[in-house]
Amino acid sequence: MTSRSDIFVFWRGVRDALAFPAWIVGFSLFGVGSLARDAGLPAGAAVLSTCLMWAAPAQVILFGGLLSGAALPALAVAIGVSSLRFLPMTMSILPLVRRPGQRWPVQVVVAHFVAVTAWVEGMRRLPNLPVEERLPFFLGFASACMGVSATLTLAGYQLVRVLPVVLAAGMLMLTPLFFTVALVASARARQDWAAIGVGFALAPVATAVVGRDFDLLVLGLVGGTAAYVAGRGRRRI
């Protein structure tokens, strides 16, 4: 992040995020802000949770759990399990933005910005960019998403209870809708289609068989491997 062109590309990432995706994740976190207030947390903790955790589902578990008086160690475990998805996501995005000689603190910063929106959009946009532009673009894109989301978390905290139910439902629908359209938009190989299909079809099965806590873990490993094999079969022939 030193040269002029890096700064230029960073701002292009900011601009691309503000054009649409940042608002998707931002409005999803609007509801999280409301929930934080219901849980009796100060506004600062609500905003900080967006910047530090950067994972709406985990934030919902945390604030919902505090609200219902759940035991803190149990909450920590539930959050750890729910955020397991960041492992494969971060592992697949880091090699895309890595530059020769890049040091680990830079990678930890990149990793911190990984969340679903930045991941689906990153997997879609980064491979088309020249290698040297990927890091500043990703940092610009993701920090704009986080900035908008932190602001809207605060807005949600302050504006709780003035939102009609239908609009609140619309905000909660943003996440599944955007994830699905973005996944379909970024699907290229047979493996991607297999993974989307398997994920959708087997999610209820996994929940029924393994229960609500570890269903996604099992689904990811079993379904993901099946999708990989399906894609590999085609590649080898």
């Binding site: 599944p176 493996q191 379904g223």
Partner: protein, 120 residues
């Protein structure tokens, strides 16, 4: 005296760091360690990407099947139907993600109003 009372206004921040931030961030940091030296075209990363995509599709399916909060006020067929409409709009309108999301949202809002108006 409990830790909560001793820390006073700082208690929520300590909970946020220990219960919220650390169990969440550990996966991102672990990914930095595990992905070092992996090439973006390596076979293992292809598998990792398949796992991540499947997980994400599973997260969406769970959100649609068992939604929390206000989204539960919209019937299941309304949620799935507006997703299908959003996808159709994405393809119909030159693969525009923005169009897909906005039209899907419009469909959901319409179903939501209808469900609300239809309720006694």
């Amino acid at each position: 005296m409990t830790a909560e009372a001793a820390l006073g206004p700082w208690w929520p921040y300590l909970v946020l760091i220990l219960v919220g931030f650390l169990p969440n961030e550990v996966w991102r940091v672990l990914a930095v360690v595990l992905s070092s030296g992996l090439d973006e075209r390596s076979e293992i990363l292809t598998w990792v990407r398949a796992v991540a995509t499947t997980l994400l599709a599973g997260v969406v399916a769970k959100l649609l099947l068992a939604p929390g909060g206000a989204l539960a006020a919209v019937p299941f067929m309304g949620r799935v139907g507006s997703l299908a409409i959003g996808l159709a709009a994405f393809y119909a309108l030159r693969r525009s993600v923005v169009a897909g999301v906005l039209i899907g949202e419009a469909a959901l809002t319409a179903v939501g109003w209808w469900a609300q108006a239809g309720a006694p």
